[in-house]
Structures are given as C-alpha cells and as structure tokens.
C-alpha cells in the first residue's frame, strides 16, 4: 500500500516540479519585469507544493530517503511527470499556453484532493488551492490577452496551442495506479477532472479566439516514466549540483 501511495505522491510532485523548473529557466528573461516576477512567483509556489509532497514521500519510504533524494537523485525513468510539463520554453505565448493547460488541470486536480481520504494529501491541497486558483486566473487572462490581441500574438498563441494541446490527453488516461488510488478514495477521479477541465477550457478558448487543432492526441507515458528527449537535458541541468557535489547543502 505504501509503495503505491508513494508512487502516486511522486507523480503529483513531479508534474509540478518539472514545470516549476521550466519556469525557473525564464527567471531574468521575462518579457517585462512584471511578468518575469509573476512567472518566478508561480515557479516558487509550485516548488513549495512539491516540497510537501516529497517530505510526505520520504515519510512513506520509512525514512530511507530524504526529500532531496526524491528531487535530485532519481534516474529519468523514475520521474512520473506529465509530458506536457517537460516541453521546452520557446516564446512567451508558448510558455503561457503550457501554463494555462497545466493550471487548468492542476487547479481542478487539487480541488478534488481537498476531499482525499489521505489526510496529508488533503492538507497539502488545502494549502495549494489558493495558489492554484491564482495561477489559473493569471494564465487565463494572458490567454485572452494574447489570443485576442494583435495578429502576431494571436498567431503565436494559436501555433503554441496546436503544438501543446495534443499532450493534454495524457492527463485523463488513468493508469493502473490512478485507478487504484481512486478506488481507495485517495486519488482524483480523472473522468470528472476531464469534464471540469473542458468546461474551463471552452470558456477561455472562446474568449481568446483560439480553436482546437485537428491533430490527434499524442500517446504519452510520462506517468509511467517514459519521457520525451527534453527530459534528459532538463535533468542534466536540474541535478547537476547534487551529482557534482554529492550531499551538498547551503
């Protein structure tokens, strides 16, 4: 039981952490001072949530591992994040579209975890829900601003959406682990999550004048540890310090 719960907790953590790392790559590069700080704030909020998950995973491991071991010392196949979040930063529209798709998923996910039978997951959700709500508000406003902005901003946003939307399907395809967690009353109901996600999505797309692409969904297995080529490069940078100077602290 602890082993599957531990893996489920890691899955929740990894999706937030990998995106938080992607956002941290933008620090100092934001198109304006204000958006730079906003994206960095979101990154830090997510890292805060992730720490709680890893501390819980460390507890579930029976004290064999620490939060840092989970964050920095796994191999690529041992990270269970959604493929969407490891996609690289291309331009601001791309970052916003990825953020909006994640925030929409994340907010409705955390909303469900509020009532998880697992007390720690529920407590973490209570702490994260306000942040998640703000993130969704922030990225929704930017979707509308860019999508319904100038012809260039619209074009870039639509192109980013065409590229990233096919990754969304993975969010709602339940793995054996997710079915087990749902049956135990611990994990989220992905069918309900999909309905909530789509309702928010439709409203924003309409306001942003963005349309869904015809391209079929991508087959992704991030939740099983199978990643795109970006993940290796991401981890090389993310894990560098701990690999080069083991057990380093600051």
């Amino acid at each position: 039981m602890n082993a599957s719960l531990e893996k489920y907790v890691l899955q929740l953590a990894d999706t937030s952490m990998i995106l938080a790392h992607r956002l941290s790559e933008c620090c100092g590069h934001g198109p304006t001072l204000e958006t730079d700080i906003a994206l960095t704030n979101i990154s830090l909020d997510l890292f805060g949530e992730v720490r709680s998950y890893f501390q819980y995973a460390a507890k579930l491991s029976g004290g064999e591992k620490t939060e840092d071991d989970f964050a920095f010392l796994r191999t690529e196949r041992q990270y269970y994040n959604l493929i969407l979040t490891e996609q690289t930063n291309k331009d601001f529209a791309h970052i916003i579209v990825r953020q909006f798709l994640f925030d929409n998923y994340h907010y409705h996910l955390v909303e469900q975890l509020l009532t998880s039978k697992d007390e720690t997951l529920s407590a973490i959700a209570h702490k994260s829900i306000k942040e998640a709500k703000y993130h969704l508000r922030f990225s929704s406003e930017w979707m509308k601003r860019l999508g319904d902005g100038t012809s260039i901003s619209h074009e870039k946003t639509q192109a980013a959406f065409n590229e990233l939307y096919p990754y969304v399907a993975e969010c709602f395809i339940a793995t054996t682990l997710e079915i087990e967690m749902l049956e135990k009353g611990i994990g989220a109901d992905l069918e309900k999550l999909e309905i909530d996600f789509n309702e928010t999505l439709e409203g924003i797309l309409q306001a942003a004048k963005i349309v869904k692409p015809d391209t079929p969904a991508r087959i992704c297995q991030g939740k099983e540890g199978i990643h795109t080529e970006h993940m290796g490069y991401l981890l090389a940078e993310f894990q560098y310090m701990q690999r080069a100077y083991p057990n380093m602290t600051w």
Binding site: L33, E34, I37, N41, E141, R145
Partner: protein, 96 residues
C-alpha cells in the same frame, strides 16, 4: 522599444491592514487595469504587504509644479498658529 508601444504606467497603492489607508508604494507598466492589478499583486505584495490594491493610470494624476513651490508652500512657513499646539488638553485625553 518604441515609446508609443510601451505599456502605460500605473501608480500602485496598497492597504497594509484593514482600517489603514491605501499608501502609494510605487509604479509599474501594464496594458490594462486587470493586468495592472495582477502585476501589482506579483510585484508589491509577495511579502504579505497588503490586503487591498488600488491601481491608477499615472497620466490621470495631476501634480503640482515644482517651480511653483514658492507661492504654493512657503507662505505657510511662518504661520505656526495654524498648528493646534496652543490648546491645553485635559490629562484624560491621551494619544493626541
């Protein structure tokens, strides 16, 4: 960046606690008032500085001209009697 393509400037006012007044804390650029509020939240309230935000387009603020300082403010200099310091207050009255 071309001057005309820059986002307009907004002045930001934060109320630090309920019951206190909004105070000017700085300014920022934003394309519209919604964005100005969000930017103000991210730039000026990340360390729990406030419970309420006002943003005002800077161009809507009319300011006195520093060149007119003489006639505007100097006449008040020698009118100390305008300060209510010549009244004797009862001891019971504190914090005034």
């Amino acid at each position: 960046m071309n001057k005309e393509r820059e986002w307009p400037l907004y002045e930001v006012f934060i109320r630090s606690k309920n019951g206190l007044e909004h105070r000017h804390v700085g300014s920022l650029h934003a394309a519209d008032p919604t964005m100005a509020l969000e930017n103000a939240r991210d730039v000026y309230t990340r360390r729990q500085e406030g419970v309420s935000i006002w943003v005002v387009p800077s161009k809507e603020i009319h300011a006195s001209n520093p060149e007119n300082q003489g006639e505007l403010f100097e006449p008040a200099k020698d009118k100390a009697y305008r300060h209510p310091t010549f009244y004797e207050l009862p001891i019971e009255l504190k914090h005034i």
